[in-house]
Symmetry: C2
Subunit: 171 residues, 2 copies
DNA sequence: AAAGATTGAACTGTCAATCTTG
DNA sequence: CAAGATTGACAGTTCAATCTTT
């Protein structure tokens, strides 16, 4: 397993202690590789990006598979304009459909199409398998709980010190 | 602190156990917010992106602040073409300079300029402060070690199951 | 005016094709 | 031909300006 990492004194990482640096490097490395591998696998197996997958998953949180554009953006945690561009591209590919809400015509409703639902159902098991294989499977119940607790604590600190409001809970 | 999260049975997350889901959500949430906040702070305080910062830091690992384009790309963990585009944009802003290597003229050397070095030196303390405030400060030495160990274990799994070779060690 | 959303321009990242030197 | 790198076209992201409905 990885131990001490030497850092030249000119490097900004010299501002961290050895233990801090170790945690920070480990986190950044995991994060970078994981994103890369998830994207690659989804693209190869199902022809969708991680961002596409996240959007489709978000829509399943509504029983009918329909959400207002703003609600969708808030759920995914990105800006409205980005979600708008993204949903439009996905609509062109047939994965979702867009339409004005009947009751308030300012609202754009984004809905899973049959094709979108089918794509997600086909993609999910392999994606979850990857996550399990890469992250979850090798941690015992105790390590998993410890990791969850630590990350939740970190998340709270980020929200406290950050510039964005805490989002509504992930159902 | 966050506890059980309900997931509709149609959601792909139903494929994970409650404990697995908790760890996975916590990781994804931390990762997403942290990237956002780091980017925002660097941009606001120093006028550079997180990607710019990473490239500048990578260059400091050479005493003279000069690396071959390929070596730089490998160090940052991105593709050569991306690094090439990025370095070119940064050169236009005066943060780095580009030139053919004397001994092998296929090689492009990327060098920190005085301005690039000054920008990094000015940016680093506040960036490190943010990382400390958001992630490191609130974890005791034991939690920090435990987190490092778990993430290093996860990283090894990712490399095992992934498609990319293990990169050279971060000095 | 405020809320919900879209648009267009500028910027960043990805992929395949190409160029240059060894 | 292989290695190092760049290019150009396209996909995705951000930001500010704009549009529509309430």
């Amino acid at each position: 397993v990885s131990a001490e990492v030497e850092v030249p004194p000119e490097s900004p990482f010299a501002l961290l202690t050895a233990a801090e640096r170790r945690a920070w490097f480990a986190f950044m490395k995991v994060q970078l590789r994981l994103r890369y591998e998830m994207n690659r696998q989804l693209q190869a197996d199902s022809g969708i990006s991680l961002a596409d997958y996240d959007l489709l998953v978000a829509l399943t949180s509504d029983p009918a598979g329909t959400m207002a554009m703003s609600a969708l953006a808030a759920r995914i945690g990105t800006e409205r304009s980005r979600t708008s561009h993204h949903a439009k591209r996905m609509a062109a590919r047939g994965l979702v459909s867009l339409g004005a809400a009947a009751d308030d015509r300012r609202v754009t409703e984004v809905s899973l199409t049959d094709q979108g639902r089918a794509t997600l159902l086909a993609a999910a098991p392999r994606h979850v398998e990857l996550v399990r294989a890469m992250v979850l499977d090798d941690l015992g119940p105790a390590a998993l709980d410890e990791l969850s607790g630590t990350l939740e604590q970190v998340y709270d600190r980020i929200i406290e010190h950050g510039t964005l409001p805490r989002p509504a809970d992930h159902p």
